[in-house]
């Protein structure tokens, strides 16, 4: 019961906290229209894609705003007119926006049914949730390749790993919540791992980037459910960390884009979404580019979170409360 009250307090706190933009930059084209994009992806990661789009559509400028995936929903609900395109890694929240009728249908963008929903929500990357390890911490030790091996490694030397584990704070991060709920759906191992994390005073993060920074510095030894591709944006970390895609199962999400129904720049917005889904931005001459396009990894479609109404389940108020209660009781001791 104590936990339940705590969760309610956390929820209240997260709702009360005003959703705000983390970053806002304008990519200038040649004095044309300005497309307002709200995204959960950091500007430095997304910049090459936007520049590629502007190179092809010189008359378009892009006002690129970044917010946490959970905050995006609040921002859109508060002001649907403020943005034209929404890009987010939280598939469930995006699907809810589309389900609630906020997304415009783009029948022109013919896609396979696996990577789009209702011709209004379009996936354009495939990114697995990974375990990222500090190489130095596993010097001379076998690197775990599955959740079970990670649990065994942690149980073998609990004091060594105490306070050196990191994962998403699912109360703050929409993507963390999506990964956690999908993991929980797939296997009970998730809960056992979370209990081990809780026992070893795991640290909670808002973002993959922060976790990778702390891994590189040696603060963290293990981070769970991190977007491994983010290490690519920090070349100096590449030799310090190891990105491991779990072999038992790898929850894989699609970064999705939608055009808000209220937009006045429908064609330009649709052109951006078409550019994203075309995969043309994933140029071969740009090794180390962090976002793997759908086209690169079409074969990995097996454990991808599917775009269907089931995603709405964990967004249900009661279901979310139950999940956060379970999550808190496992992790927050």
């Amino acid at each position: 019961m104590r936990n339940f009250v705590f969760v309610i307090l956390c929820l209240w706190a997260s709702l009360a906290a005003a959703a705000e933009l983390e970053d806002r930059q304008t990519f200038h084209g040649e004095n044309g229209v300005t497309l307002r994009v709200l995204s959960s992806t950091d500007t430095d990661i997304f910049a090459p894609i936007l520049e590629g789009f502007i190179a092809r559509n010189p008359s378009v400028s892009i006002d690129y705003a970044v917010a946490g995936s959970a905050d995006i929903v609040t921002l859109i609900e508060d002001c649907p007119d403020c943005f034209d395109v929404v890009i987010s890694s939280a598939m469930d929240l995006q699907l809810k926006l589309a389900n609630d009728g906020l997304a415009r249908r783009l029948p022109g963008l013919a896609r396979s049914s696996d990577t789009q929903w209702r011709q209004s929500l379009f996936g354009f990357t495939l990114e697995p949730a990974t375990m990222v390890l500090n190489r130095a911490a596993f010097e001379g030790r076998k690197m775990p390749t599955t959740r079970q091996e990670l649990i065994e490694a942690l149980r073998a030397e609990p004091e060594r790993f105490r306070g050196r584990l990191g994962t998403y704070d699912v109360r703050l991060s929409g993507l963390g919540y999506l990964f956690a709920t999908q993991d929980a759906r797939t296997s009970e191992t998730f809960w056992r791992l979370m209990e081990v994390f809780g026992n070893l005073d795991a640290r909670l993060y808002c973002c993959s980037g922060d976790m990778i920074d702390d891994l590189a510095s040696g603060e963290l030894f293990v981070a769970y459910n991190v977007l491994g591709s983010y290490t690519q944006t920090r070349p100096e970390t590449l030799d310090k960390v190891a990105v491991i895609t779990p072999e038992d199962f790898a929850t894989t999400m699609m970064r999705t884009a939608l055009v808000l129904d209220t937009t006045e720049l429908g064609e330009t917005a649709a052109a951006l979404v078409a550019y994203l889904t075309s995969g043309a931005w994933a140029a071969q001459d740009r090794p180390g580019f962090p976002l793997p396009s759908l086209r690169d990894a079409e074969a990995q479609m097996l454990s991808v979170v599917s775009l269907d109404p089931g995603l709405l389940v964990y967004l249900d108020r009661l279901k979310r409360a139950l999940f956060l209660e379970a999550w808190a009781s496992a992790l927050l001791r």
Partner: protein, 451 residues
Amino acid sequence: MRGRATSLRRRLTWTLIGGAAVLAVLFYLVVRTYAQQIAQQGQDRILEASLTSLMDAAVVREGQVEVDVPYAAFAMLDTAADDRVFYAIHQGAELLTGYDGLVEGPFAAMAGPVFDTVGFAGTDLRLARLTRVLPASPAPVMLTVSVAQTRDSLAGTLWAISVNAALFGGAFFVLAAGMALWTSRSTMRPLSQMAEAVARRGPRDLRPVVRAVPTELSPLVTSLNSLMTRLNASLTQSETFIAEAAHRVRTPLATVRTHAEATLMRVDRDENRAALRSMIRAIDESSRAAGQLLDHAMVSFRGDQMERSAVDLVGICRELVDRLTPVAEMKDLELVLQADGPVVVQADPILIQNAVRNLIDNALKYSPAEGAVRIEVQADPVAIVVCDEGAGFPVAQIAELSQRFQRGANAGDTVGSGLGLTIARDVAEAHGGRLELANVEGGGACATLYL
């Protein structure tokens, strides 16, 4: 025939095609209605399953309802058209979770789910709702679960089925229309075959129809046969009458003429001889008129039902010339036949013979003595020209001359009834030709019978 003519075949065809069209439309409507019911039932069953799984997941803890929504409850609502999903869970009349305004209380407990089509979020939804009373302490809790889904996939399915049903209906109609044409044609075939067979008969062929006909036609054929039998009897009667009349009129006249000539030999007084001569003339005229009247009756009768056969016009003319030469010699006239070779046409020989004989007769009558009557048979165009060297036709009257009982103003005292040219004209017209009259420069006249 009175009233508008109707076509049995057309009526049969249109009746069958109309029936097929009605059936095709009916088929389309029935399939569509049925498909709509089935598709709606399908959606309702899935909504009900989702509803049940939500209801089963509800537990009451310390008077508060907790619903651990199963993932499948919404995942099962995934459709090909990615239909939108809405839901609401009410405890009593208070919204616990889900979409506000989807359904409004108050709710009453019900035995099974109810389905309804409602408008929400700017679209039509199929909504399933179930209210249950959950036993709990201190008081039972009334829980209402509602799940709704857009109908895009349903509409897509219905559209596909409608298109297919329309295609099937159209194909059925085309097939049925083709069969209707075929059926009406084959049904009407015995009728047209019979009509053809009757039409193919010669004009004097009045034998009864004996070919096998469909039972529906046999009353008609029986009546037709009986009509033809009566017609045949009546025709035979009139032919007999004509022959009889010709015999009865001509024979006594010949006897009277013989007696008159014998008497003429015996009387000496001039006034008596003159009276007898005029008597003989009158008898000749009557005899000739009777002959021409019979000819004319014959031409009228035969012209209505001609018996065409291949005839040689030159042959007919030669025979007539041979027969009439003694008559011509009595008037010191010469009959000249001009022809290159046989001219064979499809014609009624008796009628042709009658016409030419009347023309030659006329020419002989109006030719002065010591002259010649020329008969020419032309092959292209087919025509028989009879020319004399008489006074010619009065120019003003040429158009009227061939009318019945019309005689030329210059006929004078020549014996004649005025039927000769009429007979020739009737024969020409019965053969699809015409009679042309013309004067020859330097005296004489020509009558040309075109066939």
